[in-house]
């Protein structure tokens, strides 16, 4: 499998403060990679850099092209969804097609297909404030995947949900990921979530963030959170990152 995204010796400073201290990793085609780190370590900044929303030193390459501005090939799903409150569910989801001036008919067809994929039929004409948190998350996801990005960037997208909805949405995310065959880079601070979702986990240290280690998750899907291997891996990663998490 070829690399979709390559990050090489990435540094980021906010004024005098060094936030990212020489980050390097890659994401292969079709892979689900998580970035795990304590809150405040710069995970979100890393994702924003890849999305093209921040400048940086070093190299971020998407299919061998240097990233320097936002674009539909790297769509980001924000932590607080950032749905447009003045647009309905349908209009939010079709936004990416609308700005690319697709014909109305194509927009309607593709949006309806995505609505079905994420299970939001019947809610097309609702406004974001009229639907639940889990549904908002689906809209945010739908709005991103309709653009068919080369890589989907997700910034702790499930952190605002309650535990049950969160577990359910993790399963949904895996279902959708398999169905549309996309590449995902996922930021989280939850070890369990990272193990449940990912093929590989990039573990970051506390600020200034370095790559502490990269863990391969060789568990079969669908994954069982209570299986021995799952729990063992969770304990192992927990031991690795204990120092990083405790000091924050």
């Amino acid at each position: 499998m070829s690399d979709v995204l390559v990050v090489k010796n990435l540094y980021k400073r906010f004024g005098e403060v060094l936030v990212l201290d020489g980050i390097s990793f890659n994401v292969k085609e079709g892979e689900f990679v998580s970035i795990l780190g304590p809150s405040g370590c710069g995970k979100t900044t890393l994702l924003r850099i890849i999305a093209g929303l921040e400048d940086y030193e070093g190299e971020v390459l998407l299919e061998n092209k240097l990233v320097n501005s936002p674009g539909q090939d790297r769509v980001m799903v924000f932590q607080d969804y950032a749905l447009f409150p003045w647009k309905t569910v349908f209009e939010n989801i079709s936004f990416g097609l609308e700005v690319k001036k697709f014909p109305k008919k194509v927009i309607k067809e593709r949006t309806e297909k995505i609505l079905k994929l994420v299970g939001l039929q019947g809610f097309e004409n609702f406004y974001p404030h009229e639907i639940s948190g889990g549904m908002k998350q689906r809209v945010a996801l739908a709005r991103a995947i309709i653009c068919e990005p080369r890589i989907l960037l997700m910034d702790e997208p499930l952190s605002a949900l309650d535990a049950q909805t969160r577990n359910y949405m993790q399963e949904e995310l895996i279902r959708i990921w398999k169905e549309i065959n996309c590449t995902i880079l996922y930021v989280t601070h939850s070890i369990e979530e990272a193990i449940f979702l990912s093929d590989r986990i990039v573990v970051l240290t506390k600020r200034p963030a370095k790559v502490k280690k990269i863990v391969n998750v060789n568990l079969e899907r669908p994954r069982d959170r209570f299986s021995n291997e799952f729990v063992r891996l969770k304990a192992e990663i927990h031991k690795d990152v204990k120092d990083e998490f405790e000091l924050v």
């Binding site: 999305a51 447009f84 653009c147």
Partner: protein
């Protein structure tokens, strides 16, 4: 029903107040006199005081000044809202001019435009311009960054960001500005016309009725001013409802 009860209580109190304390048609008129007069003036029973014609004149002054304020206030507000340096540059001047009441501009207006419709429109412009400008600047400059970033990562170009994010996101604030401005503008119409910028108009006729000591006519014209002002506000409210449909359920209104 509530609407009618409220008005009935008001008119009855006014009637009682008049008979108990004033009882002098030279000083005030009771509603039992004003309402018939109002209806007669509405139907054109008097050549000099014809309410519909004066309403049209006043609305002309209002629309003239208000549209100029709307176009300049909106465009300047959009630019100032988007560009911080420009906003900082015009801020001191705005803050200096804004507290000057529109009425204080009447002498200058008459010097510049003589006794013309433009003189009246200028006063209305002054009254309407600042609420529109300030609210547009506030609306545009406080569009949340996350919406702009979301739009950009979804492939929006600068133009899309402006028309599909900045404008709709700042529309609630812009509408607030328009409604405040409309109210101020309508008050300015009366003030401007009192100075005799034209021989027609609700404000001018109030002044004229005072010379004739016809208190019932004077108050009938005041009622007309109230009714038109109310209608204008209803008009903007219904526009707001139409364009800000998405706000329903989001606010306590």
């Amino acid at each position: 029903m509530k609407f009618l009860t409220s008005l009935a209580v008001f008119f009855i109190s006014w009637e009682v107040f008049y008979h108990l304390l004033i009882n002098d048609p030279f000083l005030l008129s009771p509603p039992s006199k004003v309402i018939p007069t109002f209806l007669q003036l509405l139907l054109g029973k008097d050549e000099l005081f014809f309410i519909p014609l004066d309403t049209l004149h006043s609305l002309y002054h209002y629309a003239y000044g208000f549209l100029v304020a709307l176009s300049t206030g909106l465009s300047l507000g959009l630019v100032a809202g988007l560009y911080r340096s420009f906003r900082d540059f015009i801020h001191p001047t705005i803050e200096l001019l804004r507290p000057i009441p529109p009425i204080a501009w009447i002498p200058i207006s008459i010097m510049l435009f003589k006794l013309t419709h433009s003189a009246a429109a200028f006063i209305i412009f002054i009254g309407a311009f600042f609420p529109i400008l300030i609210n547009t600047i506030h609306g545009v400059s406080s569009v949340e960054r996350k919406y702009i970033e979301a739009a950009k990562t979804l492939g929006a170009k600068t133009r899309d960001v402006f028309f599909k994010v900045v404008i709709p996101a700042s529309l609630p604030s812009i509408f607030t500005g328009i409604r405040i401005a409309s109210g101020v503008a309508w008050m300015c119409v009366v003030a401007a016309e009192l100075f005799g910028v034209s021989q027609f108009g609700l404000g001018y006729k109030i002044q004229l009725a005072r010379y004739y000591h016809s208190m019932d006519v004077l108050i009938a014209y005041m009622l007309a001013i109230g009714i038109v002002g109310l209608t204008l506000d209803h008009f903007y409210r219904s526009l707001e409802k139409k364009f800000l449909k998405w706000r329903r359920g989001l606010t306590i209104e």
